[in-house]
Each structure stands twice: as C-alpha cells, then as structure tokens.
C-alpha cells in the first residue's frame, strides 16, 4: 500500500496542490470572483476550475501531448520537447550523482558545463573540413574533456591539498563564468566573427548532434547520448571494479585505503568521470539545443538543477533518468503554461522543489495521507493495543 510509488504520487499530488493555490492567486478571474464570493459563490469555483484546470492542462499540452495540434505527429511533439529538455538534466544529474556516491558534493556543474560547452563549441566552429559524424564525435569528446578537466581541477585540489570540494567547485563556477564571458567577448577566441556581442558563432551542421526523429522535432541524438550515459553509469557503479572503488571510497574512505584503494587518486578519477558526464550536458547544449551560437548562460542553470535531479533520483542512474524526465517535462510544460495561461514560471520552480522535499520525507507524506508505514517499529502502546485486539 505505501510502496515508494505511492509516496511519490502523494508527494506530486501535494506539490501540485500548492501549485494550484499559487496559480489561483495569480489569476485575476479568481481574485475578482473571490471579491464577491458571497454574492455569487459559483463564480469563484468556475474561476478556480478555469484557472487551475487551464494551467495544468497547458502544462500537459506543453509536456506530453497536445490534442489541439494537427495530426498525431504534431500532437506528440511536446513529449519530444520534454525529452529534449531532459537531456542535459540527465547527463549533468549523472555527474552529480556519481560524485555523490563517491562521497563528493559536486556543486560545480555550472562551471563544468560552461567549459564543456566552450570546448565543444570551439571544436564545432573552429575545426573545419571534418566529415559529418567524425566532427560531431570530436566535438562531443572535446565537451567531455572540457567538463572532465574543470571538475578534475577540483578533484586534484581535494586530493593534493585537502581543499573542500564544495568551496572549490563553487569558486570554479564563478571563474568559469567570467572566463567564458571573456572568451565570448574577445574576437579570435569564442566571439562570432563580425559581431560585437558576447556570443559564439553557430555550430556548423557537420558538428551538430543530428535530429533523432527528423526535421519536425527538436529532439536530437544528445538524448540517446544521455540514455547511453545512464546505462554506462549504471554499469560503472554496479558492475565495474572502478565503480566498486568509487562507492567504497564514498562509504568509508578509511576501509577503502586499507583495502588497497588509492583514495586521492580515486577522488581525482571520480571527478574526471563526473565532469565528463556534465560535459555531455554542455556539449549537447551547443551541439544540439542552441546550435545558433551560444552565450554566457548556456549552462541554463542546469548545473544546479542537476543537484536536485541527482538527489531526487536517489543518486541512482535510473532514478536520475526518471527525475531528469520529470524536470524536463516541467520545463517544457512550464513554457506552455506561461504562454497560454500567463502563469509565471516561478510556480514550476516551487512545485519542483516541493516534490523533491516531500519525496525525500516519506513519513511526512504518509502522515498527511494516513498511509501505513511498511517498516516501522511499533510503538509500545500500539503493540499493546494490537495484542489486546488479538486476545
């Protein structure tokens, strides 16, 4: 009865309820109808239904299925958009989750993505004459390398000097931000030739991640890359000796050391792999999502969202996949909600964070929905009561 899925559903329901209140609050129809509630209460309920129903159906239309579009191919487009938004969230979420499993809190997704995007972008427009496919692979590899290097700095500093990775990754975020701002604003580096804006040239077609379902959808091969990364991380963590070492260091570095695992070097390796995964997110941004030339906020806050995605996914690759798709759906649907109903985007942020909070606290959700606890030890009083009833 109170299976994890029930709790998850309860958490989503609760969060959606809070979101509803906020949606109603923003809607003038509701506020004005509330003003004369006693004169004509029916209006308020109609207005509430219109605004909340409208908003969530817009969310659904934007994230899953749009019955208003012509033909199935167009109707299903929102789902592909969800996957599209989920792509970098999944890849970066994996990077955070992997580090977390090894006992490292990687807050540096932003910086890693920025460097990765710059590296991938630079190989994209800076290297010419490569055939399609090779060029793409090279650009993706550059992105992965960029992310790995930037995270690797944090790993190296931690391993060599013991500097706390939280500080180091936060600082590296800012340094990457200004570094990329400089590169983008400097002719001959990342700035598009002939432009004076801090913006890179477009990614040539030969380096782009090609569309997955053809021209009519934005969904690109980055999504497949992210799925492959999920499988890879699952294999790495659960089936490989390297992942075994990562987890051992994460759970008990002292025992890992006694068991012959080189803890500092493992720290560096973990950060390299984690950065590489975040690098996939950065590469997919410039090679798939924003191929028209990127700017200084190409990371799109994904580095931080990734932390939430990773934690919501329980730092487990399949969980990250599910959480990434959920957040992708919120992103895709949030836009539609705003465009169609004028519901501010911030509500999505609130609903998302409430879901994570509630999912993380099953006892709270159980208490609210009065679900039984599968593995709770009985309190003495209840035990006595149960015995009496049995007798």
């Amino acid at each position: 009865m109170s299976h994890p899925w029930t709790v998850a559903a309860g958490a989503i329901l609760l969060a959606v309820l809070v979101g509803s209140v906020m949606i109603a609050f923003t809607d003038e129809r509701v506020t004005s109808a509330a003003g004369y509630f006693f004169a004509r209460p029916g209006d308020l309920f109609t207005a509430l239904g219109d605004s909340i129903g409208g908003a969530y159906s817009a969310l659904f239309r934007g994230a899953v299925f749009n019955p208003r579009a012509d033909g199935f191919a167009a109707q299903i487009r929102p789902l592909t958009e969800t996957f599209n938004y989920a792509t970098p969230l999944i890849a970066a979420g994996l990077g955070v989750a992997l580090a977390f499993r090894a006992g490292l809190l990687n807050i540096g997704g932003q910086g890693q993505m920025l460097i990765a995007a710059s590296a991938a972008g630079w190989v994209g427009f800076g290297v010419t004459g490569l055939p399609f496919g090779v060029h793409t692979l090279l650009a993706v590899a550059a992105g992965i390398a960029g992310g790995a290097v930037w995270a690797g700095i944090a790993g190296l500093l931690k391993a060599r000097t013991g500097a706390h990775e939280v500080i180091v990754t936060i600082m590296l975020n800012w340094i990457a931000f200004y570094l990329v701002a400089y590169l983008l604003a400097t002719p001959g580096l990342l700035q598009a030739p002939g432009s004076s804006n801090p913006k890179a040239p477009p990614t040539p077609a030969s380096a782009q991640l090609p569309g997955l379902l053809g021209e009519r959808y934005n969904l690109h091969w980055g999504f497949v890359l992210a799925l492959a990364a999920v499988v890879f991380v699952w294999w790495l963590l659960n089936r490989s000796s390297q992942g075994f070492a990562f987890r051992a260091v994460g759970e008990n570095p002292r025992a890992a050391r006694v068991a012959g695992i080189d803890v500092p070097w493992t720290t560096v390796k973990v950060m390299l792999v984690a950065g590489g995964l975040v690098g996939i997110a950065g590469a997919s941004q410039v090679l798939g999502q924003v191929t028209t030339g990127f700017g200084g906020d190409i990371d799109a806050g994904i580095g931080f969202d990734a932390i939430t995605v990773a934690l919501l996914g329980g730092s487990n690759p399949w969980g990250v996949l599910a959480a990434g798709i959920l957040f992708g759906a919120f992103k895709a649907g949030g836009t539609a909600m705003q465009a169609s109903e004028g519901v501010p985007n911030d509500i999505v942020l609130v609903v998302q964070s409430l879901i994570v909070l509630f999912i993380a606290a099953p006892p709270l959700v159980r208490a609210i929905f009065r679900l039984p606890d599968p593995d709770r030890r009985r309190t003495p009083r209840e035990a006595r009561k149960a015995r009496k009833e049995a007798a």
């Binding site: 923003t26 500097a163 180091v168 936060i170 800012w174 340094i175 932390i307 939430t308 501010p344 964070s353």
Partner: protein, 425 residues
C-alpha cells in the same frame, strides 16, 4: 633519520617542516616579478588615507609606481629567502612574516595597478567596501557554523538570506521602520531554518537534499511574490527605509580605521557583537558545550541527558536568525528594494567562508572579510582604471579564495557528526 636517544625508551619527536609556505612565497614573488618585468607601467600612484569628510585629513600620497612596486618586491624576496633558510633549518615560517609578505604584495600590486591613473586609491573606501561586502557573508557563515556545530549541514543559508531580504523589504516598506524590517528578516531566516529542522531533525531526511531544495523553493517563492505582488505595488511594498550610518564619537576619528569600522549602519555594529557573542557562547557557555557535543557525538550527549533534537532545533533557529540578519543587510542597509535572486550566491560563498574558517565563528568572519576585500579590490581597481579586462578583475575574489583554501587552509575537519541524522539508541 635514525639516531640513538639518550634514554632508550623515551618517545622521540621528529618534525619535518614542509615546503608549502616557503614554496608559496617564492612562487608569488616570482609571479609578481614577472608581472613587473613584462608589463611595467609609468607614472605615479595616488593613495588617499582619509576621506573628504574625515576629521583628520591626511594628505594624498603620490608615489612613483614602479620604484614602490620594486621596493615591495625586494622586501618580499627577502622574506621568501628567510623562509627558505628557516625551512632548510627545519624551522617554521612565522605567520607574521607571511602577513607582512601579503601586505607588501598588496601595496606593490596596488602601486602597479594604479600607476598613471588620474584616480586615487582610497584606502578608506577600499577597506570600508570590503567590510560592507563581508557583512552578509559573515552573518551567513555564522548560520552555517552554529548549525553545523550541532551536526546539521546547512546548505540553505542562501535561501535563509533571500527569504530574509524579501521580508525585510516588505516589512520595512509597510511600517516605514528599518527595525521592523530587521525583525521580520530574523523571523524569515528562522522560518526557513524551522523547515530545515523539521525535515532534517524530525524526519531525518538527507540534510544536503533539504538544503539544496530549500534554496530552490525560496527562490521560487520570492520570485513569484516579487513579480505578482511587489512589482505592481512597488511604492507601498518595495520601497524600504534604510539604516543610516551611526557615527560613533571619538572612535570614528581614528585615522583610516575609524571611518571604516565606526561610521557604519547599526547592523554592522551588531555584527561585531554577534560574532563575539557566538564565539563566546560556543566555547564558554553550557549551551555551546552541549551544542558542540551534539555535533561531535550526539549519542554521548544523549547518554548524559542532553536532548539532541531540541539542541539541533535551537541551533538551527539561532543560525537562521543570524542568516536573517545577513539577509536584512540587503534591504535595510545596502539598497532599498528587493530584487530577484538578490543574494546572488552569497549564501554559497558564506558556506565556503564557514569551511574556510574551519567551523569557527571568528575565523569564518575573517574568511568573509578576505572575500569581501578581494571583491572590493577588483572593484576599486577597475574604477581606478586597471589594464586588466573586466572579466578577469571580476574573477579575482574567487581565484583568491581558491588559492587561500588550497594553499593555506588545506584539510579542514567538520564536526564529526555533521550530516548524520541522530537515531536514538
């Protein structure tokens, strides 16, 4: 290093002084020398030691830049050499020597950067801006210190400060009193802390998850209410009164230091008291002893009758109040309006300051000051007209922190039970 001690069974002591200090000094001196050789600059640098409004006027110092920079470099090299000699003799380099080295480097660098500029390098502005920049960081890091000393990781400092800045703006605007704003900010900080406590202490949810998520939640809520409520009603709800500066007689007349430390808003004076107070309370009172015990070994504390959950709740709430004061800085001292995400990551810098300060209130405050100084240094230099591109100038505080953490601080040990929910028994 084998040897025969006089007493065969006495324990021997072998110390090996590391090369970190001496090596660091050499590298910095060499880099500075490289800078001076590669990019020499003409003209003089103008240092101002007092402001126009100060009681004691110190004349403008106009010093030829390169000679000054080179003199500093020579002295730096001297200190580095002494440090090398001491290391060879297996003796440590004194912290004062390192401090002097740092000061010389700073003066030399300022001379180089300000050379030939028509602008003046106002030392008072430099320091005063540093102090102001550090205020939210210091209050925020105290929130972290108190919470984590009790064993609860507090990633939510950012959220606490943002919520506080938001409520302070509204409360201040509505009542017209900055004190009301301050009060509301403290309540808001505590409210976020209460949620943190509820989830982490009572429900034992992973503390990092809750912290990260609370930041997002507060960002979402404040953004929502900002666009929905504050923007349409900016004149009534988002025009907050601010604290003016309270000039302390006599003390504020001390040259250079006086106007920096004693001509500030009351929130800054309160900060001096709070830092000292938290430090005292943590180490000298019953509350602090119990709090630290709970953070180090909750079960031990429990077995002597200390209520772990209550201690953690209280710690988080007091920490929340501190973060609230830090958030209040934004809308009761700095500027008179709330803006979207106006804490802009300061909570994370505060977290860094806390770790940098090794979970000690005074050290964390010093770390906050260092960061404030580095930020303001870039600011002052870019106004005076430094030749470095603005993006690199803006990077300075983060690079400085990175070097300081990796080079000077190294391994820092959090309270032993930090991050672990306490399960009785």
């Amino acid at each position: 290093m084998p040897g025969t001690p006089s007493d065969g069974v006495e324990k021997r002591q072998v110390t090996q002084v590391g090369w970190k200090a001496a090596g660091g000094l050499i590298v910095i001196a060499a880099l500075f020398a490289l800078l001076l050789v590669a990019a020499p600059r003409d003209g003089a640098t103008k240092f101002a030691l007092s402001r126009g409004s100060d009681a004691l006027q110190i004349p403008l110092l106009e010093i030829p830049a390169m000679p000054l920079a080179w003199s500093c470099l020579v002295l730096m090299a001297l200190i580095a050499a002494i440090s090398v000699a001491r290391t060879l003799a297996n003796r440590t380099t004194s912290i004062w020597a390192i401090a002097a080295f740092g000061a010389l480097f700073l003066v030399g660098f300022l001379a180089w950067a300000g050379a030939g500029s028509s602008g003046t390098l106002s030392i008072v502005s430099l320091l005063s801006g540093s102090l102001l920049g550090a205020v939210p960081l210091i209050y925020g890091s105290l929130s972290g210190v108190i919470g984590e000393r009790s064993g609860v990781i507090n990633i939510a400092i950012e959220g606490q400060m943002l919520a506080a800045a938001f409520t302070a703006a509204i409360a201040g605007s509505v009542t017209g009193s900055p004190f009301a704003g301050l009060f509301a900010a403290v309540l808001a900080g505590m409210l976020v802390a209460l949620v943190l406590a509820l989830f982490t202490v009572t429900h034992r949810v992973n503390q990092i998850i809750v912290g990260v998520v609370l930041n997002v939640l507060v960002l979402g809520l404040t953004s929502f209410f900002y666009t929905q409520v504050l923007v349409p009603n900016a004149a009534t709800l988002n025009t907050a009164p601010r604290f003016g500066s309270w000039t302390i007689p006599l003390l504020s007349d001390i040259p250079v230091i006086g106007p920096v430390l004693f001509d500030q808003a009351p929130l800054i004076y309160l900060m001096y008291l709070v830092v000292a107070g938290v430090s005292f309370a943590l180490y000298r009172t019953r509350w602090g002893l119990r709090l630290r015990a709970v953070g180090e070994h909750p079960k031990a504390a429990d077995t002597v009758g200390v209520n772990v959950e209550r201690t953690r709740y209280l710690a988080l709430l007091i920490g929340g109040a501190c973060a609230g004061l830090g958030g209040a800085f934004y809308t009761t001292v700095a500027i008179d309006k709330f803006g979207l995400n106006m804490t802009a990551g300061a909570g994370f810098i505060a977290l860094a300051a806390m770790i940098f300060g090794k979970w000690d209130p005074v050290r964390a405050a010093l770390a906050g000051l260092l960061f404030g100084f580095a930020s303001n240094l870039q600011n002052v230099l870019s106004v005076v007209g430094s030749p470095v591109p603005s993006q690199f100038m803006l990077m300075v505080p983060y690079v400085v922190t990175l070097f300081a953490v990796a080079g000077l601080v190294g391994r820092s040990r959090p309270p032993a039970a930090n991050g672990q929910p306490y399960v009785k028994g």
